[in-house]
Amino acid sequence: MVLTWLTTVNLELSFQSVIWGFGDIIDYSKQYLSPNFSEFLKYVKLMGQTLAIALWGTVLSLIVSLILSPLAAKNISPHPIIYQIVRELLNFLRAIPDLVLALIFVSALGLGPLPGLLALGLHTSGFLGKFFAESMERVKPGIYEALKATGASFFQIAMFAAWPSILQEVAGYTLYIFDRNVRVATILGLVGAGGIGLELSATFGFFRYDQASALILIIMITIIVIDYLSIWLRKRIS
């Protein structure tokens, strides 16, 4: 209780203003009730760009983790030091928020979808790499031993035993990451990294809540559709 009170004071939260400002909130919300779809085509194009950023970001992270995961799986990694280094690299990628990565890439490469794609791809490589590595560690050890006993090299073991054994997990995790990337890609535009987010922040800047409302609706519908699509796909895979 004391802690809650202290944090409330610290953040200058005031429940009074919530109650007294209630009328204003209602008023403000009303402005969203009449979405303005006059620039519908432009919005759909931007949404398409957002989806493309998410898709290619996912592909990038799939490619990166294709190489890194076997190195980060304890039971097949060629050397304990390599294992540690790659593990730490994956932790590092997960630790930097993708928005921060996007800011860095925007300042390095300029505005546009490319920095967004790179940011998503690298950040989620940290996730996929770790997920896949752990799936590979759960594969029955004998499957690796059998190939090692024929004289197969590390990369051959990765290609012939590790990856084929975790195909179902790969599909499931990748769909989940794509799903997540679509949601994140919508706000990447806020830092200038392409997609529908830039337009959204512009409409707020000009107090065009009717247009913002239309954009939010388009984003919501897209995310819901993708959600259902990935549920359907995951069912088909398993």
Binding site: G142, E145, A149, G151, A152
Partner: protein, 260 residues
């Protein structure tokens, strides 16, 4: 390599896992072309011994010499060169279920193939002819493109055998290859293994529970008990008392409890 040189030579070999001693003071020579059965109760160290022979495990003490080379002294790539000439069949088979049979068979080539060739083969199967012949020899030629998880236990056992055929090694090690099969199937698999080694002169070392099949299909029987060699004699010289002694010790542990 002439027929008199030992393919395997173990000198004072011991193996420990943590504190438990699995093998102790093993001295052993196996010559080219021999068919050897390793018999003994569960936990006697048969699988560990096979692991030492194919280089997937290193001894805690002593030396393992394979094809005249001390395994502990080899670089990883030299070890791979030795390993590609040793084929191993496992009790649990260790096939990749998600792959089609052809790829599980082609895994036998990995010791010889470059990474590039291996990756290409996953998408466009290479050396299909060799794989098809191997599968024909084990009696299921029609399963070449089937997914491995669609096969029955006996069919998977045959795929595991065919993988070793594809590898075409100088030595075949088999770790209880028939323990999950019924008697009829067991005999078929043992016949296949014996014929393979007779036709090609391959050395065969096989660990078994079924002592009758060991006697009928192998020339030399090595009895292992609690990590030590109890006897190592030609098959015709194995006496019932020896077999009894091999397994009796294990029973003695549990019997007193039943008697009380």
């Amino acid at each position: 390599m002439s027929g008199t040189d030992p393919i395997f030579e173990l000198k004072h070999v011991a193996k420990r896992f943590g504190k438990s001693r699995v093998l102790a003071n093993i001295n052993l020579q196996i010559l080219a072309g021999e068919r050897v059965a390793l018999v003994g109760p569960s936990g006697a160290g048969k699988s560990t011994l096979l692991g030492l022979l194919n280089g997937t495990q290193l001894p805690s003490q002593g030396e393992v010499w394979v094809f005249g080379r001390n395994l502990a002294r080899l670089s990883p790539s030299q070890l791979r060169q030795v390993q590609r000439r040793i084929g191993t069949i496992y009790q649990q088979l260790h096939l990749v279920d998600n792959l089609r049979v052809i790829h599980n068979l082609n895994a036998g080539h990995l010791g010889r193939w470059s990474l590039f060739k291996a990756v290409v083969s996953l998408f466009f199967p290479l050396e299909v002819e060799t794989a098809a012949q191997a599968l024909f020899k084990v009696g299921i030629p029609e399963k070449l493109y089937e997914r491995t998880d669609q096969l029955s236990g006996g069919q998977k056992q045959r795929v595991a055998l065919a993988r070793v055929l594809v590898q075409n090694p100088i030595v075949i090690l088999a770790d209880e290859p028939i323990s999950s099969l019924d008697l009829g199937r067991s005999r078929e698999i043992m016949d296949l293994l014996r014929d393979m080694s007779e036709q090609t002169g391959q050395t065969l070392i096989i660990s078994l529970h079924a002592i009758e099949l060991a006697l009928s299909h192998c020339q030399r029987i090595i009895g292992l008990r609690q990590g030590r060699i109890l006897f190592d004699v030609p098959a015709p010289e194995v006496l019932p008392e020896m077999v009894e002694a091999l397994y009796r010790i294990e029973n003695a542990r549990t019997e007193p409890i039943q008697k009380i």
